[in-house]
Structure formats: C-alpha cells, structure tokens
C-alpha cells in the first residue's frame, strides 16, 4: 500500500487509450476469410449458371425451353423442350415422397412417442448410418433388387424404369425424414403431452392430435428438405431410371431426370460453348431455382417452429 495514490496510477488516459491488437485482427481476418469461402462459391456458381444460361437463351427462346415437350439436344432434329426432364424429376420426387413421407413420419412418431429409450438409442444411430450410405449403392440396390421385384409383379417393366428410381430415392430420404421429424416431435414440450394425458387422451390421440400439430412446422420443413434432396439426387436415379427423356407418366418405362441429363452431357464428348453444351447450364439453373424455392419454403416453416411456451 506504499505505491502511488489511486488517482495517479489510474488516469483516464492510461485506462482507455486504444492500442492496435494485431493478434485480434489476425484472428478476425482469418475467420472472415473462411466465412467468405462459401459465400463466394455460391456467388460464383450463380454467376456461371446465369451467364452460360444467357448464352443458351440467345439461341433457344425461353418459352420453347420451358414449355416444349420434346428433349433432344444431341440428336437431329434438335429440340430443347425441358418438360420431359422436369416430368422425370417430378415422377421421382412425388414417388419418393409417397414412399418416404408417411413412412418417415410414422417412424418418427413411433420413436418419439412410443419407443422405449433403449429401443430409440439403437434405432436412431441405425437411421444415421442409413443416411450415410453412398447413393451409388442405393442405385445398385435398385437395379439388382427393386427392379427384379417390380418385374415379377409387372412383367412390362423395363430394365431401367421410373418406379424403381422413385422407390429407391424414397428409401434413401426416409432416414432423413424420420430423423428430422423425430427432432421436431421430441422438441414439443413435455407439458403439452401431460396436458393431453391428463384429459384422458390415449397415446395415439396425444401423438396425432397434440404432438404432431404442435410440431407441424418442423415436420413440414423436414419434408421439404428431404424433397429438395430427392430433386437433386443424381447417381441412384441415373442407375435406376436410365437416360430416356420421355414426357409421360408411365412409371414402368425408362425416363431421364434433370440431374441425370447433366451427368450424361458432362461426361460425354460434347464440345464446350456449343448450344448442346450450354443446355446443362440452363437445366442446372432451373434445378437451382426449384431447390432454392423449396428451401425458402422450408425456412418459412422452420421460422414458425417455436410457437409453444413463451
């Protein structure tokens, strides 16, 4: 206590003077750099898609592209109607949704409302393993298992067919739907379930009339996210559904999805900067817009998720 008096030691100037902290600046700069990588990549992709698509649309009118029903960019007479690819993608998306949405929701309800903690602790990791299987394996599974099964039931089934692709994509996104739905259902406060039970509700009534509606936004968001994955799925559908662009709803025939077409051209020997080559950017841009729309929709639903409680 023999030092200088407090007022002398701590003057405002010495206390508040700013000095440049280089280490802090470096950390901040490094973090910003990492954060910008994904943003810059996204911008880059959008720019490439936009400029190449623009080149494409100088040769092909937009309405011919969007409304045409024949897709034959590589064969004479050429035709650039994208609807067969869109219909191919939609068959796979709708078909996989029919498989994955009810099954996934039912799985989630069982895990969240009925299963014992022990059972849940076994099944949840299995779901996650299922979600980690490479999609090419699912494609082989479709070719070697689902298609033969379909042909046994419907002999008219082609070797490559839309039904097989839709089913296998449904199986593929099922774990994602189940897992995300389960998260949404288990985030419903226990007080909601107790209120239901205390009013003489059965487990089924509590699950379907209290928990699922309370988690509706999360459940719907999980559907939308899973569907945008189904739209973007490439490998499994290429293997299972083949490469025949067809504007038809026959599930037993071969079709081609938008993604499968992009693969076909990217791997082929189509010269760059030709109209044929630019088609993949136009198709890619359309695909990007569709999934973007779905993701925006999903975020809308997710935003409304925390409505109970406060």
């Amino acid at each position: 206590m023999n030092g200088p008096a407090l007022a002398e030691r701590v003057t405002p100037a010495s206390l508040f003077r700013q000095s440049i902290d280089w280490k802090e600046l470096a950390v901040r700069g490094g973090l910003l750099l990492c954060a910008s990588i994904s943003v810059l990549t996204t911008i880059g992709i959008v720019v490439v898609l936009a400029t190449e698509s623009f080149g494409f649309f100088r040769h092909v009118p937009v309405h011919d592209f969007l409304l045409g029903t024949r897709w034959a960019p590589l064969l004479e007479p050429r035709s650039f109607g994208v609807l067969p690819l869109v219909s191919g993608t939609m068959i796979v998306v709708v078909g996989s949704a029919v498989v994955a949405v009810p099954t996934g929701l039912a799985t989630a309800i069982y895990l969240s409302e009925y299963a014992s903690p022990r059972f849940r602790s076994i099944v949840k990791p299995v779901l996650e393993i299922l979600a980690g299987i490479p999609t090419v394996v699912y494609g082989y599974f479709a070719l070697t298992t689902i298609t033969p099964a379909l042909r046994a039931i419907f002999p008219a089934t082609e070797v490559f067919n839309a039904a097989s692709a839709a089913i296998v994509v449904g199986v593929m996104i099922l774990p994602m739907v189940a897992s995300l739905c389960e998260d949404a259902l288990s985030s419903v406060p226990r007080a909601q379930r107790e209120a239901g039970f205390a009013l003489g509700a059965t487990r089924g009534e509590v699950a379907t009339q209290i928990v699922v509606p309370a988690a509706a936004s999360g459940v719907v968001a999980s559907f939308v996210l899973a569907l945008s994955r189904a739209i973007g799925e490439t490998m499994a559908v290429t293997l299972a559904a083949g490469a025949t662009p067809r504007f038809s709803l026959n599930l037993l025939e071969s079709i081609q999805t938008m993604t499968a077409y992009i693969v076909q051209v990217s791997l082929g020997d189509t010269p760059a900067h030709t109209v044929e080559y630019q088609t993949i950017f136009a198709v890619g841009a359309l695909l990007f817009l569709i999934t973007l729309g779905l993701n925006v929709l999903a975020h809308r639903f997710l935003r409304g998720i925390h409505r109970i409680g406060e």
Binding site: A191, E194, A195, A198, L199, I210, I308
Partner: protein, 279 residues
C-alpha cells in the same frame, strides 16, 4: 385475503364448511381418494416413503412441504401420470372410491378421465380457446358435437373466464395472460366433468392478483369437486384448504385439519416448517 396475509397462521373462516353438520371430521365424509402405505421411487431414488392419507369428498386438501419433498410425485401418482416419465416404481395402494387404480385391469386413461390435473405452468394447447376446452370432451366422446359449445361455455363460466373470453373464443389460447391461461387450463379440466381435481402448484407462476382469482375459484369448485392442491406457499395452503398434509423427505410428517396443522401442530418439524424456521 388481506387478513390472511397479515396473520398467515390463522386460516380465514370457512362458514360453508362449519355449517355442514360436522362433516369436518375425516371419518364422517367419504374418502374419494386414498393412499395406503405408498412408496414411489425413480430408479434407485426413493421420492415418497410409506405415505398413507385420504382425500374427502368436496374438501380441499393441501399437500405442503419443502422443495424436493416428493409432494408433486405423490400428487401425480393419484392419476397415474408418473408412469409416463419412465423408470418409476410405485408400491402400496391407491384407492379411488375403494377401487385400486393401479390394479392390473385398470386402464390409466379411464383413471385420468375421472381424476383431472392442472399443472404448475399454464400449458394451453396451441389451438383456439374454444378448442382447448372442447378437445377433452370431444376425444372422450363425452358430448356430441352440437353439445360442445354449451359445455365449453359452462366450463369457462365455472372457471370464471367466460366474461373475459366470450367474444374471442377463436383466438389462440396463447393470446391470454398467464393467469387467464391457467384458468383456461382449469376450464379444460372442468369440461371433462371429473370427480377429483389435482392441482400441482397452480399459482406458482402467477402474479398475486391472478393467484387470488385462482384461490377464489377453488372455493367455488369444491362445492362440486374433491380437490387436492400441492403448494409450497404455506399462506395459500392456510387460506384455501380444509385439510393439510405436511411432507418432508418423502415422509408424511403430519396430516390433519388445516386449522390444527397450522395453529396446534402435533409434530415439532411441522411447527418449525409452518412458522418459517426452515423450508
């Protein structure tokens, strides 16, 4: 109410009870619910030990005790809510009008239809005010669809909420204030026309005005229902209840008429607790 705050140990007079020809005596009124030597354990942890008590018809019984004494666990055992949590082991007998509600052939859903419960925090459903009240009777087939509006109105009137919500029945239950939400939860329970209402610290999340409204409501409700209320608020127990059970560390220390428990406790621990020496 104010007097009770000034003199917390003296319950306010309850003339309607005094008039009812000696039914204050535990033996004279019918026990609606009864616990006989019950113990409840979560896994290895015993929460309630060898408790026996009974709840009489059209009476309010308060269960008091310090935090963690097992009072909520005991209450939730009376409509079989504990088993929904998981690893809960219950022994002893719980009798509802003489019938063991834990017997093998008893459906817990049926038990909960007769023995309703109101929780500590208001927990309305994310639905309209009307649907909050109508849901219970609807799923249990207690009323035709055409009868629901009348039933909802009656329940909301009994819960003293009707005048505040009659013009906005389609608004969300969450649009109400905390005190109104809790009365909505009570209305929801009343719409089931239960026999017994269990309340688990129903006013602990509410402000004093809302608390007073809930307490006044309990006096009305006990004309039709048997009521059990868990509370850590001793003044509240003294104000509203006819009988009081004092629980400590899962054991029943004392059980008797509220006047006696608060003014002439038989046990030293009870006296220490009700005079605020611990807890």
């Amino acid at each position: 109410m104010v007097a009770a705050h000034d003199a917390p140990l003296v319950p306010r007079p309850r003339p309607e009870i005094e008039r009812s020809e000696g039914r204050m005596e535990p033996v004279a009124a019918t026990p609606v619910l009864e616990a006989k030597g019950v113990s409840i354990a979560y896994g290895e942890k015993v929460a309630v030990r060898e408790v026996s008590l009974q709840f009489l018809e059209n009476r309010i019984t308060a269960i008091i005790g310090p935090s963690g004494c097992g009072k909520s666990t005991l209450l939730r055992a009376f409509n079989r809510m504990n088993e929904l949590i998981g690893d809960v082991h219950t022994t002893g007998n719980f009798l509802y009008r003489g019938e063991d509600i834990y017997s093998r052939d008893v459906d817990p859903v049926q038990v909960r239809r007769r023995i309703g419960m109101v929780f500590q925090k208001p927990n309305p459903f994310p639905r309209s005010i009307f649907q909050n009240v109508a849901w219970g009777p609807a799923i249990n087939g207690l009323a035709l669809k055409s009868e629901l509006p009348a039933r909802v109105e009656e329940a909301l009137r009994m819960a003293a909420l009707w005048d505040e919500v009659k013009d906005r029945l389609d608004d969300s239950g969450f649009s109400l204030s905390g005190g109104q939400q809790q009365r909505l939860c009570i209305a929801r329970t009343l719409a089931m026309e239960p026999d017994v209402i269990l309340l688990d610290e129903p006013a602990s999340a509410l402000d004093p005005v809302s608390t007073a409204a809930i307490e006044d409501l309990l006096f009305e409700l006990k004309k039709r229902y048997t009521i059990v209320i868990v509370t850590h608020n001793m003044q509240q127990a003294a104000r509203v209840s006819d009988f009081t059970a004092f629980l400590e560390s899962g054991k029943l220390v004392e059980f008797g008429e509220t006047d006696q428990v608060f003014t002439r406790p038989r046990q030293k621990r009870t006296e220490d607790y009700v005079t605020g020496r611990f807890g």
